[in-house]
């Protein structure tokens, strides 16, 4: 009991510390000073009166939302004397693996740099700056020569690294035994099984209404949809983040989705935020970074060719170029097992005073990175809001999909969860695929790394991402991947090669996500 209390007070202290530096704090202070003018505030009961005022005027709600938002990324309670690396990632071997992976990426980036003799960063001449400013809204038409650029890495390279992860404290033995894993991932992390998942995702159950199932044309809207929409509007009126998060577990009506996501992510477009975005835009105009070309190349290779997202090509550049210059993103590395790559001013290699983070936000884009942003363009068409939403989604969720960590929502756990689910509930299928050299993870990895963006139809993808926000976890990606395999099991049992298996699973655009999840979790006979 005492331990819990001291843990709690530690957490409270840390959150207060964090929030003290934020905009909300200064706003609350201002509001408090202004409220002194009000007649109901009396000197004798100053504290209570101001608190009451905050409650009535909705400021308490805003504070609540901010605290809730901090809690959602707060690292799991740990020993107060734990060093900061432990907050990033408690397991040493994982940290080491992430470190060596980062070295590899940086080496690849630097070698591309020297090969093409392009500086990592350079200041744009004034003429070029003007030109870029004019073309800001249609950067898609500017086609620089990108043929020599290659993406720094692709998901399958990352998969190879994960496959080779080993826990040095875990003795597997050389021969196959019940302790070796049948799948590709060989690290012993704890993952949930179906009974635990059922408990976790209880709102997806068969007897609970869902958007994505109970709003189809055959179902009269009075049964579920109308009421659900009404509740959604009420939640928005209350502006309560926690309630919104609970609500969205049953899916979000399309008309309310943009606002609901903003509420859950605690994004409100203040003038300061718009100003910040403009500042980032200025940075883009003034300096050219090597990663810009990587971003260009990625967008051209992925989103521009996509049936749903090609329309928003220009928005993608506007968001991603600004994102790579945003140093506020660096703060998420406190709980991300990754660390931002460092680079040195020319000629001062190794001297710490001349080290800078490169790119300024510490995130090196890989092949398919722009697909994280693309679906958001369906919801937000105002660039600074789109930018804020994407940035928040990244520092809450997406970063876990490409860094090595033991977090339950980290990609390693997701892979293991996927494989375990398949082995436990579809053993025949798993065995068959393994025998023909088509390890299931090789096919589903790319789906999970991209959070299914670009593989599902957009409306289905948004329903899936609703649940990611609602449950504050990415585990649903692994469950969906397993559900897809279960759905196509009959066809998969007949294939005889990896290529054929890929072909069976090549087109997911007709799948309906929610029925698949519901059936897999709640209606499969085990």
């Amino acid at each position: 009991m005492l331990q819990e209390e001291s843990d709690l007070s530690l957490i409270i202290a840390q959150i207060v510390q964090k929030l003290k530096g934020s905009n909300l704090y200064s706003q609350l202070e201002r509001q408090a000073w202004a409220s002194l003018q009000r007649p109901e505030i009396k000197l004798e009961s100053l504290k209570e009166d101001i608190k009451e005022f905050f409650k009535i005027s909705g400021w308490e709600k805003k504070l609540q939302n901010a605290v809730y938002s901090e809690l959602s990324v707060f690292p799991l309670p740990s020993h107060p004397a734990a060093p900061p690396e432990h907050l990033k990632e408690p397991l040493v071997y994982m940290r080491k693996a992430q470190g060596s992976w980062e070295k590899r990426i940086l080496k690849s980036l630097n070698s591309m740099c020297t090969e093409l003799s392009i500086p990592l960063a350079r200041k744009r001449p004034v003429g070029e700056q003007k030109e870029l400013l004019n073309k800001w809204n249609e950067m898609g038409t500017d086609e620089p020569d990108l043929s020599l650029f290659r993406p720094v890495y692709a998901p399958k390279d990352f998969l190879e690294v994960l496959i080779n992860l080993r826990n040095p404290n875990y003795e597997n033995g050389d021969s196959l035994s019940f302790r070796t894993h049948l799948g590709l991932i060989q690290v012993p992390l704890k993952v949930k099984d179906i009974p635990e998942l059922k408990e976790c995702f209880v709102e997806l159950g068969l007897n609970i209404g869902q958007l994505g199932i109970d709003d189809s044309t055959q179902v009269p809207p009075e049964l579920f949809e109308n009421e659900h929409v009404r509740i959604g509007q009420k939640v928005l009126a209350e502006q309560d983040s926690a309630a919104a998060q609970q609500y969205i577990r049953q899916g979000s009506p399309t008309a309310l989705r943009a606002e609901l996501w903003a509420l859950i992510l605690n994004i409100s477009s203040q003038p300061e935020d718009v100003l910040y975005y403009e500042q980032l835009k200025t940075n883009v105009i003034q300096h050219d970074l090597l990663v810009d070309s990587l971003i260009y190349k990625d967008v051209k290779l992925t989103a521009s060719n996509d049936d749903y997202y090609f329309v928003f090509e220009d928005y993608l550049y506007q968001v991603l170029l600004c994102f790579s210059r945003d140093t506020s993103v660096l703060s998420h590395f406190a709980y991300n097992s990754a660390s931002p790559p460092k680079s040195y001013i020319r000629g001062k290699l190794g001297l710490e005073e001349y080290a800078v983070f490169y790119p300024p936000n510490g995130v090196i884009p890989f092949h398919g990175f722009s697909m994280y942003v693309a679906p958001l363009c369906f919801l937000y068409h105002e660039p600074s809001k789109l930018y804020q939403i994407f940035r928040e989604m990244y520092v809450r969720f997406f970063f876990r999909l490409h860094s090595i960590s033991s977090h339950p929502s980290g990609i390693v756990s997701l892979c293991l969860l996927f494989e375990t689910l398949l082995q436990t509930y579809l053993p025949q299928l798993f065995y068959h695929l393994r025998e023909i050299g088509a390890q299931p993870l090789r096919i589903s990895f790319k789906w999970m790394v991209r959070a299914f963006s670009g593989y599902l139809a957009t409306d289905q993808l948004l329903l899936l991402w609703d649940r990611i926000l609602g449950y504050n976890s990415l585990e649903i990606l692994a469950v969906l991947a397993a559900a897809v395999f279960a759905f196509r099991a009959v066809n998969l049992m007949e294939v005889t090669s990896l290529a054929a298996a890929e072909a069976v699973l090549a087109d997911l655009s007709t799948l309906k996500v929610m029925p698949l999840l519901q059936i897999f979790l709640f209606a499969t006979v085990t």
Binding site: T141, E222, A255, A258, S304, N305, D306, D314, F378, L379
Partner: protein, 385 residues
């Protein structure tokens, strides 16, 4: 059959008679709807008729604009209405107008003007050759250009919707659920310097596919369901539903307008390609109707769509895949509709007077998803008012 062949088949000279087991895919005088000038003429006539009858559909607002029937941009025939046009042009001299040849397709011969001098040629003709019958080839229509189209991703787009008409009297028409949006490859700008750039203004694939940035994988096309998702997410459900309701409305009204003059030959059915543009106030405008919508495909998805379109069209027009008898009552069973949904069925609409009230209330809650709600013709007014 192509349009030329149809002209021959139905022309008085050849004396060709279609037998009972022959069905053709065009109405003899489809040009009443599909030629730009005749379509506008018929719609104007229809509006005047409704006004004379005192029908509530023809209600006007304080500025004299029709409340429910203003869905075609202001259009004049040239050279016939040249003087009327000049009067209108002088009222708003900064407006842009679009010149379209009456009988051409695929964006051929279209250009934009913003000065009277650019079309002096048509005024000279009207003065000097008022007694000489104009050859069809030189006839043009000039319409007010919609220079505030709804932009997505900064680009202009239009909607291509397929509508199948199996008979005009009673009117029975079906709308294909899988229409698509055609995007321009270049960002839209109303600036006068780009008036000549057809890649900015014309959405025809025949034109866009020659652009530098044309992409062969997606072909610059979006499905209508994507458009719906985007609009519902960014603008809200009510205005989106209202927009789609209005689109259905204008299609039905345009067909009703030509129904009286259409030769309702029982051997005929026709699948039209409707081109609709949405402006930034979410008002749809009917641009034109095509009798022979392009059935070639520019992308893989396109090919699947057009294949299904032809399949479903023939399933409705020729029941059961048997040798047809043109005397059948043209009421296909629900199962063969495929991706079509009933847009308007005059027989059904007139048949249930008592049910109409109930139907319209249902129409409101189920919305445009349940195509059957369109059957109640008059009653649907209540949802639009």
């Amino acid at each position: 059959m192509s349009v030329q062949t149809i002209r021959n088949v139905f022309s008085v000279e050849t004396g060709y008679r279609l037998s009972d087991d022959q069905i053709v895919n065009h109405f003899p005088n489809h040009y009443e709807l599909t030629r730009k000038d005749l379509m506008v003429k018929n719609i104007k006539r229809y509006r005047k008729e409704l006004e004379k009858e005192g029908s509530p559909l023809a209600e006007k607002d304080e500025n004299g604009k029709y409340l429910y029937l203003d869905f075609v941009p202001v259009t004049y025939m040239l050279p016939a209405d040249y003087n009327l046009f000049v009067e209108e042009f002088r009222k708003s001299p900064s407006s842009t107008w679009i010149m379209k040849p009456c009988g051409k397709a695929q964006g051929k011969g279209i250009f934009l003007i913003n000065k009277l001098s650019q079309i002096k040629k048509w005024s000279r003709d009207s003065k000097t050759s008022s007694f000489v019958s104009q050859s069809n080839k030189e006839a043009y229509v000039i319409s007010l250009y919609i220079n505030n189209p709804l932009l997505i991703g900064g680009r202009k787009f239009d909607l291509r919707l397929y509508v199948l008409v199996s008979t005009y009297r009673p009117l029975r028409c079906y709308m294909y659920k899988l229409g698509f949006c055609r995007f321009c490859t270049v960002k839209y700008t109303p600036s006068t310097s780009e008036l000549d750039n057809m890649f900015v203004h014309l959405t025809n694939v025949a034109i866009q596919k020659h652009g530098e940035d044309y992409n062969h994988i997606h072909g610059g096309k979006w499905t209508v369901s994507n458009l719906r998702l985007y609009l519902e997410s960014t603008r809200g459900k009510e205005v989106t539903s209202k927009l789609f309701d209005e689109i259905h409305w204008i299609i039905v009204q345009s067909l009703k307008a030509v129904a009286p003059v259409m030769n309702n030959d029982k051997h005929c059915f026709e699948c039209y390609g409707y081109d609709i543009i949405i402006d930034d106030k979410l008002k749809p405008w009917l641009i034109e109707v095509n009798a022979s919508p392009s059935l070639t495909s520019s992308t893989a998805n396109d090919r699947i769509l057009k294949y299904n379109l032809i399949n479903d069209t023939l399933n409705i027009a020729v029941p059961n895949g048997e040798i047809p008898d043109c005397k059948w009552n043209k009421s296909p069973p629900k199962e063969v509709l495929g991706n079509y949904e009933i847009l308007f069925d005059e027989e059904l609409a007139q048949g249930d007077g008592a049910d109409r009230e109930l139907r319209s209330r249902q129409g409101q809650s189920l919305g445009p998803r349940a195509g059957r709600s369109r059957d109640s013709g008059r009653a649907v007014l209540t949802t639009w008012k």
